[in-house]
Amino acid sequence: MSQNNTLLKQRINPQMFGLYLGLASVLMMFAALTSAYMVRQAAGNWLEFRLPVQFFYSTAVIIISSVILHMAVRNYSQGKFGIYRILLLLSAALGLGFVILQYAGWLEMELIGVYLTGNPSGSFVYIISGLHAIHVLGGLTALFISVLVAFMASSKVTIKRKHRLKLLLHYWHFVGALWIYLLLFLILQN
């Protein structure tokens, strides 16, 4: 419906604005979980353990993926379709790599005896990283769809496609930043 009010001064695109509101609610979900973590931790009977090293690798991977997606979008705007396609694919592959590394991290936790159903300190790590991974998977789906579009659709720079890529980019930056926050939280709380 944005076209309805084109004559009016648009403060911000309504879709982007809606996305931000959605992200605010996602953020609240995680804020709730991390607060619950602190409340529960303060109550004692709390198992201390080292976070799996895979979580640190995955952090690097998602940061790189974010940067690459940024470059991909910029190249699209400049009409450099060759680089754009490759970067987009690369970014999606790294996103997938992130999820796989998280999974490896969970296996590692099982290996050292921290189970989902054990002490809540472990359960929290599973739930927080798991719920985050679900959000990454959501973004990844969109990312892979845009890869398909990039390779199949015509090589044209349209406002609509640019806009969609921007939405995706902002979401992707968000889940990346969210993970950094969650990881820092888990490190600092222990």
Partner: protein, 612 residues
């Protein structure tokens, strides 16, 4: 256009409204192709508003009907209820003499369902869903919501949530029965009670669907208000309804996700065996292997939503009441800016008082002090609003019609219920009052009845916009006076029960000598409840009768109101305004200015006229 200068163009928009080329292309067909897309899967905000309203009314009848059944058992425990077997089947148990009574298990289930349905389905979806949808585009001057598709999905998620909850009423183990707040362990252990099994699972599914609906709706409302206002509609010119819906939606976006997190942990405790909320529990003599959890953690997460939720319910009602009072007192709302600021203050404070529901849950008394303080501070913006409503009425040229009566009734209820909130907000007094009928009286008056009054005021007032007909005013007045007196008759005595310590949610007080003499009081309350329920059916009859047979609206602006919805045709089509969107020239409350009864928002300021 090309030859026009910028200033000319501005002037043209001022005079003739703003042409967004909405009607240039032929997309009317997209919306009005057949019955299904027009009335069922509609994306038009006006139809979606009616869907929310009528679904809300359906749930209100079910939810209130439940309360009549459990009130009968509570007020007249000796009566024979075997006739209810036709409706409730095995939930009516017969003793040796063949006397039927409501089963204890189902009594709790009814209380739980009553609370859940009224709080979420009726007073959240039915109230804010209906009026945000109807009024936001109409009053800010937009063709529709920012995303009509998400808007439609918001309704259908609500519908599905209702469907799942409805199904849960019929499972053989019964619906969930652990209270609308769903505290663990009753909610976390499927074996804890019969309603804790399938009933609770469905309850959780239903509420998660419901949250999706609230978020989709809320994102849409906020985006529309902030981005799609028409030319000239600055924030400080918005009617208070819009302010209220905006802030309500923001509260929802920030608080409902927290509830989802709480539910997520609950679902894992139920199904995967984690121990977030469970610790050292014995059930049926058996020790469970859950250790290390904390049920209070759930209460924190629940009430972090739960308290803002009560303001999600009441703020839209406040917005509606502000508007209705001003229109029918023919006076500008008193203290417009103070009204907005107090909405903002209430919204902010509502996030930092949640633990006043947990004074008796083992929260550190030292920390409780902070929550006492913030809780009592909420009384300040609340009092500002009450003062301004009364000041708006003062010296007004009041029309005592149905919408106005309900708006005034709202103020009365909000004062009565708000005062008892101040009692409860003191943690020391709450030691005696917590979980008694005093709390039941408090929140039914301040939230239940007040929000219903706000909703009724809105329905009677905007019915002409929704259905191009009026509701019957005489029936409306009977409805009002009966409900006002009846509601006080139900809930006033409950304060005394509560002060005497009578606990809420008990099936029977026979075994307690202290409470036995309250028998007649309970009978009185039950009778009053039945009368009030019957009066609501009268409203429903009036509503549906008026849709088809009510007095027709013949003028565009029957109430003489200033806001934009009354500049649309009597029956607005898709896109709301047949031609250009009107440009706004002034605030929404120019009543009795310069000797004129009212001045519409679209009328330009006269030469030398100062904006309010």
């Amino acid at each position: 256009m090309a030859t026009l200068t910028k200033i000319d163009e501005e002037k043209l928009i001022q005079e003739q409204g703003y042409n967004d080329h909405f009607h240039d292309h032929h997309h009317g067909d997209k919306y009005k192709s057949n019955f299904i897309t027009t009335y069922i899967f509609s994306m038009d905000h006006k139809i979606i508003a009616k869907q929310f309203l009528i679904t809300g009314m359906f749930w209100a009848i079910i939810g209130a009907g439940m309360s009549i059944i459990f009130r009968l058992q509570l007020g007249f425990p000796e009566e024979d209820y075997s006739w209810l077997r036709y409706l409730l089947g095995k939930w009516i148990v017969l003793d040796e003499a063949g006397v039927g009574s409501l089963s204890q298990e189902f009594y709790y289930a009814l209380v739980t369902m009553h609370g859940t349905i009224l709080v979420f389905f009726v007073l959240t979806a039915g109230l804010s869903g209906t009026f945000s949808n109807l009024l936001i585009p109409l009053q800010v001057g937009a063709r529709d919501m920012a995303s009509p598709l998400l808007n439609m999905m918001s309704y259908w998620f609500f519908f599905m949530a209702g469907l799942v909850m409805f199904i849960s009423l019929f499972v053989s183990t019964g619906p969930f029965s652990g209270g609308w707040t769903a505290y663990p362990p009753l909610s976390a252990l499927p074996q804890a009670s019969s309603g804790s099994g399938a009933g609770m699972t469905l309850w959780l599914v239903s509420l998660v669907l419901f949250v999706v609906s609230v978020l989709l709706g809320g994102i849409n409302y906020v985006t529309t208000v902030l981005n799609l206002r028409t030319k000239g509609m600055s924030m400080w010119r918005m009617p208070l309804t819009i302010w209220a819906f905006l802030i309500t939606a923001i509260i929802g976006i920030l608080s409902f996700p927290v509830l989802v997190s709480g539910f997520l942990l609950l679902i894992l405790d139920r199904s995967l065996g984690t121990s977030f909320y469970l610790s050292e529990i014995f059930i049926g003599g058996q020790a469970l292997d859950h250790v290390g959890g904390s049920p209070v953690l759930y209460q924190h997460l629940f009430w972090f939503l739960g308290h803002p939720e009560v303001y999600i319910i009441i703020l839209p009602a406040m917005g509606i009441v502000s508007e209705v009072l001003s229109v029918h007192a023919r006076k500008p709302i008193f203290g417009y800016k103070a009204m907005v600021l107090s909405i903002l203050a209430i919204a902010f404070l509502s996030f930092i008082v949640w633990a006043h529901h947990m004074f008796m849950s083992g929260v550190n008394p030292f920390i409780s002090n902070f929550f006492v303080l913030f809780t009592l501070i909420i009384a300040v913006p609340s009092a500002v609003k009450v003062f301004n409503w009364i000041a708006t009425l003062y010296g007004g040229n009041i029309r005592f019609n149905s919408p106005m009566l309900f708006a005034i009734g709202f103020v009365s209820m909000f004062i009565s219920g708000g005062l008892t909130g101040i009692f409860l907000g003191n943690s020391t007094i709450d030691i005696q009052m917590h979980d008694t009928y005093f709390v039941v009286a408090h929140f039914h008056i301040v939230m239940g009845i007040a929000a219903f009054f706000g909703m009724f005021a809105g329905i009677y007032h905007w019915f002409p916009k929704m259905y191009s007909r009026f509701m019957n005013d005489t029936l409306g007045k009977i409805h009002f006076w009966g409900t006002l007196i009846g509601a006080y008759a139900i809930f006033w005595p409950m304060h005394y029960l509560g002060i005497a310590g009578v606990p809420r949610r008990y099936y029977s007080f026979d075994t307690f000598d202290t409470f036995r003499h309250f028998g007649t009081m309970n009978q009185f309350i039950t009778v009053a409840a039945i009368v009030v329920f019957a009066l609501q059916l009268l409203f429903v009859v009036n509503f549906f009768y008026s849709i088809w047979k009510g007095k027709k609206v013949t003028t565009q602006n029957p109430w003489g109101a200033t806001t934009l919805e009354w500049t649309t045709p009597i029956t607005p089509g898709h896109g709301n305004w047949p031609g250009n969107i009107p440009a706004v020239q002034r605030w929404a409350y120019d009543y009795g200015k310069d000797g004129r009864e009212f001045i519409s928002q679209i009328e330009p300021l006269a030469e030398g006229e100062k904006e309010h």
